[in-house]
């Protein structure tokens, strides 16, 4: 669990680099009155990015598990995104915005809640004797949405992140690699681990309830 954290921090260097650009941009703009060009840019930004606010909020909420923090991060991410919008030439606005939401969330986690970043999967659940729980039983309980939510909330942040990106946004491995800033080859193994841990948790819960 410790190794992927290092990778996750790697984005910060990149992030600071782009915020240096943002600062320059802001200073230049400060000397100008808001003009038609800026309003046009805002309109174009909003048209491209506002449709992805549900996705932005959903990801932030899963990463932070706190509504207030999630809202702060979404607002901050939109401001950051707008300030570097002139550098966005791609067609995948959602992936671009989610990358910023993700980076902003991790910055907050690192600053205020470092403990969340180091939380590993509950060992008790790993070692609990639930080998007797059959796939069919898991399958049966997998209809319980509340249980799925609880299980997902228990997972480490990297796992919540990858499950949300894959299962809720339906993103490709390539897009997930870009957003989570991990090598494309790592996406499959991380997803595999995330699903396995979720299954473990479900199995543990089911055998406890028995």
């Amino acid at each position: 669990m410790a190794a992927p954290l290092k990778i996750d921090y790697a984005f910060n260097a990149q992030d600071f680099e782009s915020s240096a650009k943002i600062v320059k941009f802001t200073i230049l703009k400060k000397h100008q009155e808001p003009d038609a060009a800026q309003e046009h840019e805002l309109a174009s930004f909003e048209e491209t990015m506002l449709p992805h606010m549900d996705a932005a909020h959903n990801l932030a909420k899963w990463l932070l598990r706190n509504e207030e923090d999630a809202q702060d991060v979404v607002q901050e991410a939109y401001l950051r995104a707008f300030k570097s919008f002139s550098g966005f030439h791609g067609s995948n606005g959602r992936a671009w915005l989610l990358t910023i939401v993700r980076n902003t969330s991790y910055t907050l986690l690192k600053k205020n809640r470092a403990v969340d970043l180091t939380t590993t999967f509950d060992e008790e659940i790993h070692t609990a004797g639930h080998e007797s729980v059959s796939p069919a039983t898991i399958l049966e309980h997998s209809e319980n949405a509340e249980l799925i939510k609880e299980a997902m909330d228990e997972l480490p942040v990297q796992f919540r992140e990858i499950l949300a990106l894959r299962h809720q946004e339906g993103l490709s491995y390539k897009e997930i690699a870009d957003i989570a800033q991990i090598p494309p080859g790592t996406v499959m193994s991380r997803l595999s681990r995330a699903r396995a841990e979720l299954k473990e948790y479900l199995a543990a819960r089911i055998s406890k309830d028995k």
Binding site: K29, P34, A36, Q38, E39, H40, E41, L42, A43, F45, E46, E47, T48, L50, P51, M53, D54, A56, H57, N58, K61, W62, A70, Q71, V74, Q75, Y78, L79, F82, K83, S91, G93, P135, A136, I138, L139, S142, E143, A145, E146, L147, I148, K149, M152, L163, A164, R166, H167, Q168, E169, G170, S172, Y173, M188, L191, S192, R195, L198, K199, L202
Partner: protein
């Protein structure tokens, strides 16, 4: 391929992310190995449970307003000025209308949906596994996501009507194109309504049809050079997608009904259009 390799690649196979050669090898192994096949079925069920069960936390209206006003502050635009912004305001309120705030998902509905999905998984495991061409992979993912979201948010339609003469004018005013709308009630696919959706950075029409307890989303947009015109059938994550094009429009039907039903839906839809 042995069991160990198959297990290692199972997630990639499940997600449709393996190259065709490797996919074929896994398929072969799953046909030959009962143990891995069972593991794959359980894994598929789990994947569906996650997709269906995990709540999707939508942004609330206050957050939308907050973000927009902080953006305004960032460029120093004062309220009540600028025609451009007023234009834009109508665009965003359209969005707000289209995607209502639904922070929580109705659980009882999800339980039902999960049951339907499980039934679909069982049904689909008897069908040949179809592979989409790579260029359609991403689009297929987006289409399934839109389909699933329309069901999850309990927001299938913006205009709920089985009357094509109600649905069509509504869509015509919301879109910059006029999609064909036909009711197929007498053919067993009643029209439920229409919805605006957003795919790959463009507004598209979504017509919603029902087949027994299942829903079909039919996505329609004007054909662009980007769109392939070849007819395609895709099975992915327990959903079926049928794609066709008639020169003017590109169609994608997405549903968890079986592939034969979806194929006949397509034929009936085309026949009805030809009659209009």
């Amino acid at each position: 391929m042995n069991c160990e390799e198959a297990t290692k690649l199972m997630d990639g196979y499940l997600d449709g992310e393996l190259d065709p050669m490797t996919s074929q090898k896994i398929e072969q192994h799953l046909r030959d190995c009962r143990k891995c096949e069972q593991a794959y079925e359980a894994h598929t069920a789990l994947a569906h449970a996650i997709s269906r069960g995990a709540p999707y936390y939508k942004a609330q209206a206050e957050l939308r307003q907050r973000v927009q006003s902080s953006l305004r502050d960032a460029v120093g635009v004062r309220a009540s000025r600028s025609a451009a912004r007023e234009n834009h305001a109508s665009l965003t309120s359209r969005w707000a209308k289209r995607r209502p705030v639904l922070p929580e998902i109705p659980w009882n509905w999800l339980a039902l949906a999960a049951a339907i999905i499980l039934a679909a998984i069982i049904a689909s495991s008897f069908l040949p596994r179809l592979r989409p061409p790579t260029s359609d992979q991403f689009l297929a993912t987006q289409l399934i996501a839109s389909h699933v979201r329309s069901l999850m948010a309990d927001h299938l339609t913006d205009v709920a009507s089985s009357d094509q003469h109600t649905v069509k004018p509504w869509l015509d005013t919301k879109l910059d194109f006029a999609p064909p709308v036909v009711d197929l009630s007498s053919e067993g696919f009643p029209l439920i309504g229409g919805r605006l959706d957003y795919l790959d950075s463009r507004s598209v029409a979504a017509l919603v049809y029902q087949k027994r307890k299942h829903f079909i989303n039919l996505f329609i947009w004007p054909t662009t050079p980007k769109d392939s015109t070849a007819q395609t059938m895709v099975e992915r994550e327990g959903y079926h997608l049928v794609h066709w094009s008639d020169g003017d429009f590109t169609y994608w039907a997405v549903s968890d009904v079986n592939i034969n039903d979806l194929q006949s839906f397509k034929q009936l839809f085309e026949q009805q259009i030809a009659r209009h």
